[in-house]
């Protein structure tokens, strides 16, 4: 009997269209097959590996941008959602430009940690090294979510990690959410959010414009015209990535819906993030 984990398909059930590549829906880190709106090919370097982008309708559950709301509304229908409306909604950008447009913990999000850099070759070890969520929620002093909320002691840590990029999306505050995981053959599966931040003003010494800009430029250059929008883009195969950045506790989402696409969220054990990224090497 054939192994059902290796079953393949080229049919996208959401639209009835044919994928540009044969998909393996049961591969760890894949999105739900009915969330894929279309597939694209990505060849970032001539002669280098080719990746496939699965553009999905998955968004962070709490996102309120018109793009995210349109996607969610279109899916709440029996039968096939209108293809043209779906394509239009998926194309809609939740934000424009490169500047950071949010407020929550802005001071922490736009600055690097002052501590040393710890190197991790497995995301599992990075996640295991993080202080428990309950400690951070009850942190003394309390971690406010106001714009002036700076880094607390536990966040004064930089990390370098080698892992794989499984999915990414663009948020209303101009951050790119990267869903980073272990090698697809490693068990247990686990993923963590890492963010290519929107940029701070380049003339304010409180923020680290140069490093944040370098990471954002590298991310944008790799994807070119195929940057993600409001819905998560998933990658096949997952893209090898080397990331440097600062640890950050997402106090805003300590209660209520947490970040991440529905298909992977159950395997995202922490709301710690690497945020901001100060360097990223893809492929």
């Amino acid at each position: 009997m054939p192994d059902p984990r290796k079953a393949t398909t080229t049919r996208l059930p959401l639209t009835g269209a044919t994928a540009t590549k044969t998909l393996t829906p049961m591969r760890p880190g894949m999105p739900a097959i009915d969330s894929i709106q279309k597939t694209l090919t990505l060849a970032p370097k001539a002669g280098g590996p080719t990746y496939h982008i699965m553009r999905t309708t998955e968004t962070d559950a709490y996102e309120q941008t018109p793009a995210a709301l349109d996607l969610s509304k279109l899916l709440r229908t029996k039968g096939a959602p209108p293809t043209a409306a779906l394509a239009k909604a998926a194309k809609k950008q939740p934000s424009t430009g490169d500047n950071y447009a949010g407020t929550d913990r802005k001071a922490a999000k736009l600055s690097k940690a002052q501590g040393p850099t710890k190197v991790f070759s497995d995301l599992k070890d990075l996640i295991a090294s993080l202080p428990p969520e309950s400690t951070m929620i009850k942190h003394k002093p309390k971690i406010p979510t106001t714009a002036t909320s700076g880094r607390v002691k536990e966040e004064q840590q930089n990390v370098t990690v080698s892992a794989f990029l499984y999915a990414s999306s663009r948020e209303g505050d101009n951050d790119f959410h990267l869903i980073v995981g272990r090698n697809q053959n490693s068990a247990p599966e686990m993923y963590m959010t890492m963010e290519v931040s929107g940029l701070p003003p380049n003339n304010n010494p409180k923020f680290d414009f140069t490093d944040l800009n370098a990471a954002r430029s590298a991310f944008k250059k790799f994807f070119g015209a195929k940057l993600p929008g409001a819905g998560y883009d998933f990658y096949d195969p997952p893209i090898p990535v080397n990331i440097e950045g600062s640890l950050f506790f997402d106090m805003t989402h300590a209660t209520g819906a947490r970040p991440g696409p529905q298909s992977l969220k159950s395997r995202m054990p922490v709301i710690w993030e690497v945020h901001p990224l100060t360097s990223i090497k893809l492929g």
């Binding site: 899916l75 709440r76 229908t77 969520e133 247990p188 599966e189 300590a254 969220k265 395997r267 054990p269």
Partner: protein, 68 residues
């Protein structure tokens, strides 16, 4: 002014029953979808907010109709 006796819901609730679950066990729902944990003999029922994507958002005043 007298203090209200109504218990305040903490802004950052930590639910020990949810925290005690093995979140990475295959087949688990996302932690933030678990609304409560109910004991059921030697099992636990995880009541979640998940529903089929095509189901209309239920109105709080309406009883759900038959499943189709």
């Amino acid at each position: 002014m007298p203090m209200s006796k109504k218990k305040k819901t903490p802004k950052t609730a930590i639910n020990p029953a949810v925290d005690a679950l093995d979140q990475l066990r295959p087949g688990m729902p996302a932690k933030d979808n678990i609304q409560k944990v109910v004991k059921f003999g030697r099992f636990k029922i995880l009541k979640t907010t998940e529903m089929d994507a095509y189901d209309p958002v239920p109105s709080p005043n309406k009883k759900p109709g038959p499943r189709t």
